[in-house]
Amino acid sequence: MRISELETKLNCKPLNQIYDKEADGAFISDMVSDVMAGAKAGSIWVTVQTHKNVVAAANLVDLAAIIIVRGKKVPEDTIQMADRAKLTLFATDEDTYQVAIRLFESGIKPGK
């Protein structure tokens, strides 16, 4: 799936420019430690965390995009950092479970 397809297929809103690339997995966790230890490059990360260190972690392991769930407000410095890393941030009011189902139905498999 292309990152540019996420908005329509997953009912989520881009918070910054869409840096389009291919995504072929998903990783669900609310800990940057988990991402460092186990997330696979090219995966979409689903999390409730909005702190800018999520971008630092996603950039380190080359994730394709981040989806922030449950309507969390994302600080502007996190969005700016995502642009610096050319990483697209999405937000949705849905919870992690609903997003996981949509990802699965779109053909995305676990990224670990």
Binding site: S33, H51, K52, A57, L60, D62, K72
Partner: protein
């Protein structure tokens, strides 16, 4: 001999979760940082030699080693407390200067912050090379690289606003109301 010639293929192993704890002695103002595998970070004040250590803060993080899948060599990172990405807070800081140069070439700089006996030290060069090789090997974007540099390249560790990869407040994470 085999290990000497091996072009290593590193994988993260022996991953353990714990807490990075920062303490301060209010008698001499010395600050120290250490890693603990206790279930919750110790917060009680205690005396050790001439110091009276008080809890300043903590964050969840991981300890890990790297193992070469070809030769079996294991490199431990007991002194590593975290990787930090520069936030460009100080124009004269070497980490900032190098980051700005490298990012134009799609090389992303992370400072390896290491502590021994509570005090900040540099990671040995071999260990920085292992981290650089390992994290670069995990990338998929063509031309992108990771470069791990010593934390001592920061001009002022005390005022540095770099973003350390650790989980702050996870044990008290609650839904927003």
């Amino acid at each position: 001999m085999l290990r000497d010639r091996c072009i290593h293929s590193w994988a993260m192993t022996d991953v353990k979760y714990g807490f990075i704890v920062t303490e301060k002695c209010y008698h001499c103002n010395q600050v120290r940082t250490y890693f603990t595998f206790e279930e919750t970070p110790p917060k009680e004040e205690y005396k050790e030699a001439e110091h009276y250590w008080n809890y300043e803060g903590s964050a969840q993080s991981i300890k890990f080693s790297m193992r070469c899948g070809k030769c079996g060599k294991v490199v431990t990172f007991e002194e590593l407390m975290g990787l930090m990405q520069c936030m460009a807070c100080d124009e004269g800081c070497y980490i900032n200067i190098i980051s700005q140069i490298c990012e134009g070439q799609n090389i992303w700089v992370y400072a390896g912050l290491a502590y021994k006996s509570g005090q900040e030290v540099d990671l040995p060069a071999e260990k920085m090379d292992v981290l650089t090789t390992y994290f670069t090997s995990r990338l998929r974007t063509p031309g992108k690289k990771i470069l791990v540099l010593p934390g001592s390249l920061r001009r002022s560790p005390e005022s540095c606003r770099g973003e350390v990869l650790r989980d702050v407040g996870m044990v008290s994470l609650t839904p927003e109301t």
